[in-house]
Amino acid sequence: MLEVEEQDKFGDHLFASGHTACPGCGQSLAARLVLRAAGRNVIVVNSTGCLEVFSSKYPESAWEVPWLHSLFENTAAVAAGIEAALKINGQLDKVRVIAQGGDGSTADIGLGAISGMFERGHDVLYICYDNEAYMNTGIQRSGLTPYYARTTTSPPGRVSMGNWRPKKDVPQIAVAHEIPYVATASVGYHLDLDRKIRRALSIRGPKYMQIHVPCPLGWGSDPAHTIDIARLAVNTGLYPLYEVEEGETKVQKIPRKVPVEEYLKLQTRFRHLFGKNGGKKELEEIQRIADRNIEKYGLIGK
């Protein structure tokens, strides 16, 4: 029985091994960290996407907590319904509801349902695993695909340098709903991620967390470097880690500014920026985004 107690102490088994994620998948690691922090008294609602597909192929399931998948865009609404049922049945004091999906289901097709769930004040933690494109359908551009990234629907070509728009700022859209807790996190910083999940679940009402999760397949990165790449995104200033609680922003500082090239050159989705046909202007623009984040959030301590 000691074995079970040890397991429960860490909760690693709540998202069990044996699923079919790719090697080096940032999302599967983040999902395991989320459940480890959340514990067993949660009901998880999952959008259609990689995480759903690699964890729930009938008759197998990686989920040792109650888990439901419905559709692509309705996860926040389904979670709201579960929360309402728990509330009317007096179970909401001991059970938490987590809704989760990828960046496509969050920033694009499901944003309306998420906004509705926030606005109505449901006691739900919504988690976006942000791997910056529609990976499950084959690496298509989403609203969270970064500037100049190659995807299968934003390919660089004779008249294009890849994705033509910067990332949609969904965390600040969440902040604008004046919900009690919004945070960004990275799979590269698991202690920070763990703390934020625990903090979020200690607060009643709607919460939003966006976790940066490298996708070796979609980003063209070495599966062995998932954690390094996730950390580089943070340390360049491209993925600022912060939390907004009751309107107050707290920032995870970075030790020193790392040039964006250090992050970008490890991923083939940005390879066209380093070729002989230029990319200097685009690299400067991406650096400006990082610099603006460092300035805006005060990422470097004075």
Binding site: A77, I82, A85, N89, A113, R120
Partner: protein, 395 residues
Amino acid sequence: MVKGRMLQGARAMAEMVALCRPKVISAYPITPQTLIVEELSQIVADGDLEAEFINVEGEHSAASVCLGACAAGARVFTCSSSQGILLMSEVIFNISGMRLPVVMICVNRSVSAPLNIWNDQQDSMILRDSGWIQLYAENNQETCDLLLQAYRIAEDHRVMLPVMVCADGYVLPHAYEIVDLPDQEKADAFLPFYEPIYKLDVENPSTMGAYADPEKYMETRYMIQETLKKSIPIVEEVARDFSNTFARPSYGLFENYHVDDSSTVVVALGSMAGTIKDAIDELRTEGEKVGLLRMICYRPFPKEALYEALRNAVNIVVIEKDISLGASGAVATDMRAIFQGRDASPRISGFVIGLGGRDVTIDDIKLAIKKAQQQFEDADFIGLKEELELEGIDA
């Protein structure tokens, strides 16, 4: 003395929903459904029903909230019309695929374009293939009676499928009629608390909505098909129990109005049955052998019962408020399929009527019957305004 109270249809339906004690109600406003959810929200606001009333940002989410709450073990209710039904349709299929006993009212209305808020049945007909049980009501009393039965049928462990009660927009929810509603005690006795087979439960975790590859998916469809076939006698059984409990007829699969001695039988659904019965009464006084089979349970489609009821008819006259554009009316197509390869071989004509709220008159019904008695007609539109220029149609 007539039992009951003079109530607007929407109020009666809302009171009946409350008597069914749903724990979670979610809806989005759309004409002509809105009156029902306004009444329900008042009932909840007054504390007369202990339920969570969730005002969502669209019908897709209304159905999704119900899906989630039902998966968590709660009895739920939603209702919509027209574009709302279409927007919900993705979730509608998901709910039946997940075997969740959601109950909803479809307040029938036309679909755009052009925008038209009036009654026909194109919206619910589009969802006939969704795996939901569909029950069509003639009047407000029957809508309420079917609602109570709908939860019993849906939550029956032999069924575990959602039920859609269809009520013609404006004609029913906006009309005042005398409606006899049961008291709470009697409603509770007929409809016990919902006991799910599976639910989201931290004490007993399960995975719901797993994905199925080609080795598994087809069996899920087969199981729904077989369950729907087996639910035909359950629909009848619940109607019989309702009739016995409340001393009021509930017809189950369909209502038989002078079918047995008629050579010409009209088949129709919903509120226009009243007009059709008037037409039939007039024709019968003139000596014509005409009857009406008013279909209530359209899905599952009770093929054998319909064949037996109609096998002696010479002319079957399907009159419906929907059209599968480019083909025929949905009900006419289904009716013809019943007789394919069987001994009985009546002529089955199809008429499209009353689209977008166009008035359905006794003369229209008589015209359809007369045409069908003369020759076979397929998807013949009754009541077109000949004076309107029909662009693109050669004279």
